[in-house]
Symmetry: C2
Subunit: 339 residues, 2 copies
Amino acid sequence: MQQITIKALARELNLSVSTISKALRDSHEISPATKSRVLQLAARLNYQTNPYASSLRGKKSRNIGIVIPEVADSFFSLAINGIDATIKAKGYHSIICLTHEDFSNEQAILKELQNGRVDGVLMSVSSETTSGKHIRALMEQHVPVVLFDRVLTDIPSAQVITDDMASSYNATQHLLRNGCKRIAFLGLSQQLSISADRLRGYENALRGHNITPSPKHILTCTPDPKKNMALIKKLLQQKERPDGIVAAVEKLAPLVYQACGQLSLRIPQDVKVVCFSNLELAGLLQPSLTTVTQPAFEMGKKAAEVLLRLLDSKPLQKGDMQVVIASRLVERNSTNGKI
Amino acid sequence: MQQITIKALARELNLSVSTISKALRDSHEISPATKSRVLQLAARLNYQTNPYASSLRGKKSRNIGIVIPEVADSFFSLAINGIDATIKAKGYHSIICLTHEDFSNEQAILKELQNGRVDGVLMSVSSETTSGKHIRALMEQHVPVVLFDRVLTDIPSAQVITDDMASSYNATQHLLRNGCKRIAFLGLSQQLSISADRLRGYENALRGHNITPSPKHILTCTPDPKKNMALIKKLLQQKERPDGIVAAVEKLAPLVYQACGQLSLRIPQDVKVVCFSNLELAGLLQPSLTTVTQPAFEMGKKAAEVLLRLLDSKPLQKGDMQVVIASRLVERNSTNGKI
DNA sequence: TTTATTTACGAAACCGGTTTCGTAACAACT
DNA sequence: AGTTGTTACGAAACCGGTTTCGTAAATAAA
């Protein structure tokens, strides 16, 4: 791919390869005069250092793996921006790996990342992840891992999360205060930290209003939108039809809206809806969607910062093992009025 | 990061390093018996080949650079999925580089990619890209480039695009047929292929209805949403207020909706809106948004296929230098009724 | 002036695979 | 028996930087 190597520069300047290398790395061993000659020639010939050679010798790739379920999700898109901005400033590159919510993909990816391609990993687990063995295996190869948003509790890694339980509690209470009596919860697998915590917040809010959470109103969704659509419709057609819905992940809001449309249920008159979502367009939906908006960019940024500390083998600061950044409830029309 | 090398396997089996390497690569020089011993040990010890060592020696990275403006855009998210699926099947990895619609970022990224980090590049230029020098420079380093969606015409690379002019023509005609007389066009920089082509389609449609395109109705937007908001509001407050809008990129639809809301203009009664967009939620907006939906996944897939052919130095098939995949107009409520 | 130290550079090992080339052992063919 | 060919493997060069170590020359300290 590339022609001009250090050797070429050396030949041109009648210097040794090691001198060139040191000059380029601004070593104190090289005189200012020589340095400037080298730098000038390098610039003129557009010399680029071969990353594979450096990585091989230095045992450092300056790459960071970002392992996430998908990219077509506002939360992850924003988090990527936060990560990217942070690590780029330190000269790192990001390698984005998509699991597509599939556990075996995730396992395969982490196994591959044991080969040294990345110096560290930022990760949000898939909804089907049932164990943390693959993550432990990676960490045992001395690849530091920071989990963000979707974490596993039995992994000894740093974690950056939002206050899932409290947010969910607030969202549910918001519905209760607006008169909802039968509130449903739509989550993903309960293996998933965010799903479990949000469920707990929901349940606590109900109990706070002397309502016993009913299994009939708790839905565990799949990665398949069609199946979810069927589940949601079924939920909305049962005798004890919900008059409020807390949806724990962004993907579910459109389905709820569509299901309600097809069943001629009006939002918010018949059903009030609140969803965990970072969708910019939430305010433009029909009706505008009340959301729990997560600090996606900040979470990505913070996770990256913690990882960079680990890579510099700096000591973690107090509280870095578990960082919690608050979400906020944005009230819009989908929860408007009293029932 | 990683401990078990080929050398370790060699020691364990009393074989030479070269024999191990050949066995792992299934060379015919190695006996079946030896191969299976090697493979078994490698599996047992969870041996992973060091990608930097292979890349250094082999002068191939098996990485593909994806250079795009941003990831928080349905078109690019979907395109990434198409690309990822295609190249993963061939053992390639993707390195996603975000330009954030900034030309100097884009230049810096392409310059960096000259270092051999990637074997080829898939790219959609930023809205501020004014020249193709940086792309040419990369290609001159023998890094094949395939442009998709946002292409430059003066670059001798393969291109995968959609039928921008025809789609825009159709979208505009759809508005005309529904009675719009003063149709505005919202594009990005006219340097941008898609913007220019879509503008041309719009203008042709107007002329087909004996309407002379007016500069007052043609808006060139920026990467800054706030500025765009101001521009759009100004557009909608002029004497010759538009009664129809063709928005050339996904990002603009929310702004148009908000601007109309703030100015108390009703969609579609006062203004009809159609937007180039792959947003899944288009159907759920208030009102649901008529879109020109691009074949994002397919475009990504096709672009990747063409690039893979180039990397295999297979001859391109007829028409691969410029692949055109049609978009389709999805009519929804934002263009409903006659004016 | 002699010795110690600093400065500025080069030779060579090294990172971990890959590939070329050489060769011992054995089979096959005159 | 002598020649040719094949099989299965090892030694070593190689990719392109980085780093250690050695050293001649210049400078400082004794």
